[in-house]
């Protein structure tokens, strides 16, 4: 997902009986489906976990602009270029909504940027893969945004008010992203044999990394159990992955593309697909910073930040100068 394997500091999930009165009251509010708002009391671990999760989510939106930005100047038509530009601008907006939500928990924007640039904070593994052809832009919208929607929709109901509200805004816009991707692939699949082959090649390269987005099975994870108790995670990684596969396979069939998994087959009994296991060694390598584009992505973000420093400073100085001029005392 956009936030993968978020740690909670929990050794195990406490029962209501084991909690101090304040924490019990907090947990009971969450169990009753109430929202927690910024200035209200919350356990320190809840605050820290949310900061990790929301900032990681925000970083993913921001870094996610890079693979797609790669194709803005090379989009095949002016219309496609305008659409892609709008899509990438949305990703920037999503990052900003989320950074603001995280800031309500007491971390500053610059601290979060610092954590991204130093490599301390993570972002989704998926954005460390390269976009080699135009069809990759289609595959990202269709698969990557499609996978993101799977867990962002339930997050609209999560327990932390600012995060839930940011998710509502994001989900409204996300469906445009997925459809524009599918539309790119539809056109390619109806085109020349070379174009169709390009679409198939993109699916071959993006399928497994997309399944990895959900993270390894977390049925035995204390962190996932704790996050679910806090209602900042609603479904297990395997449940979401299953849902994603079941939704996506018929769409691939519509496109006339073959999902690159020899083990994929419909299981009538469970009413879903059986499918192969992603290569988790690759996933952990990417998470550890050794994916095909990790270094390039971080360098691009650091460079953008450093190159923009003079401009941010100049606007600050400009604003201060004008504020002084407007004060009558200073003019006298």
């Amino acid at each position: 997902m956009y936030a993968q394997m978020v740690k909670t500091d929990a050794a195990r999930v406490k029962s209501l009986d084991e909690m101090e009165p304040q924490e019990r009251a907090f947990q009971e509010r969450i169990d009753a489906g109430q929202k927690i708002e910024p200035k209200e009391w919350m356990p320190e671990a809840y605050r820290k976990t949310l900061i990790r999760q929301i900032s990681q989510h925000a970083h993913s939106e921001i870094v996610g602009q890079l693979p797609e930005g790669n194709w803005i100047t090379r989009a095949p038509t002016l219309e496609r270029k305008a659409i892609l530009l709008a899509k990438v601008q949305d990703e920037a907006g999503h990052g900003l909504y989320l950074y603001c939500a995280a800031e309500t928990l007491g971390i500053s924007r610059d601290e979060m940027y610092g954590q991204l640039h130093s490599g301390k904070a993570k972002y989704s593994s998926i954005f460390n893969y390269p976009t080699l052809t135009w069809a990759d832009i289609g595959a990202i919208g269709w698969l990557v945004d499609g996978a993101a929607i799977m867990n962002q929709v339930p997050l609209q109901r999560c327990s932390y008010g600012p995060y839930a509200r940011a998710m509502v805004r994001i989900c409204k816009e996300e469906s445009f992203h997925q459809r524009q991707g599918f539309d790119i692939l539809t056109v390619l699949c109806k085109g020349t044999p070379e174009q169709k082959a390009m679409a198939q090649d993109a699916l071959n390269r993006w399928w497994w990394p997309s399944l990895m987005m959900f993270g390894p099975s977390d049925d035995a994870s204390v962190h996932s159990a704790q996050s679910m108790a806090w209602n900042i995670k609603q479904d297990s990684n395997d449940e979401l992955r299953q849902k994603f596969v079941d939704q996506t396979v018929p769409q691939a069939r519509f496109l006339g593309l073959t999902v690159p998994d020899p083990d994929l087959k419909w299981n009538e009994e469970k009413g879903g697909h059986d499918f192969g296991e992603p290569d988790w060694t690759e996933f952990f390598e990417v998470i550890a910073g050794n994916g095909p584009c990790n270094r390039e992505r971080l360098e691009a973000r650091r460079k953008a930040w450093d190159d923009g420093a003079w401009f941010r400073d100049a606007l600050t100085v400009h604003a201060e100068k004008h504020a002084v001029r407007k004060t009558p005392a200073a003019a006298a």
Binding site: E37, E40, R165, T316, A319
Partner: protein, 94 residues
């Protein structure tokens, strides 16, 4: 230098003659840039016809712990709601 830009709260009036509503916040060096940024961040799909921005540090908020003392006095005054009064059927709509 490199100090962080101040935080602004953003309020947008939707298309239909509604009140301005809080939609979120953003960082900007001054009010003018805050409006420009708010347009790009919060109204990319015609969500509004008017934008207010207020420095977050200028917002005065009630404390969550004051919830009881602040709002309890209204609880006992049910007669403020029209449904408190029975209107006889023969009177009809009122």
């Amino acid at each position: 230098m490199t100090s962080e830009w101040p935080l602004w709260e953003v309020f947008i009036r939707g298309q239909h003659g509604l009140n301005h509503r809080h939609v979120g916040s953003l960082h900007a060096p001054d009010a003018k840039m805050a409006i420009h940024n708010a347009r790009d961040v919060y109204t990319r799909r015609n969500e509004g016809v008017s934008i207010w921005v207020v420095r977050s540090s200028d917002v005065v908020a009630s404390a969550p712990s004051d919830k009881g003392p602040l709002f309890d006095p209204a609880n006992s005054k049910v007669y403020r709601h029209p449904t408190f009064f029975d209107v006889p059927d023969e009177v009809g709509h009122m």
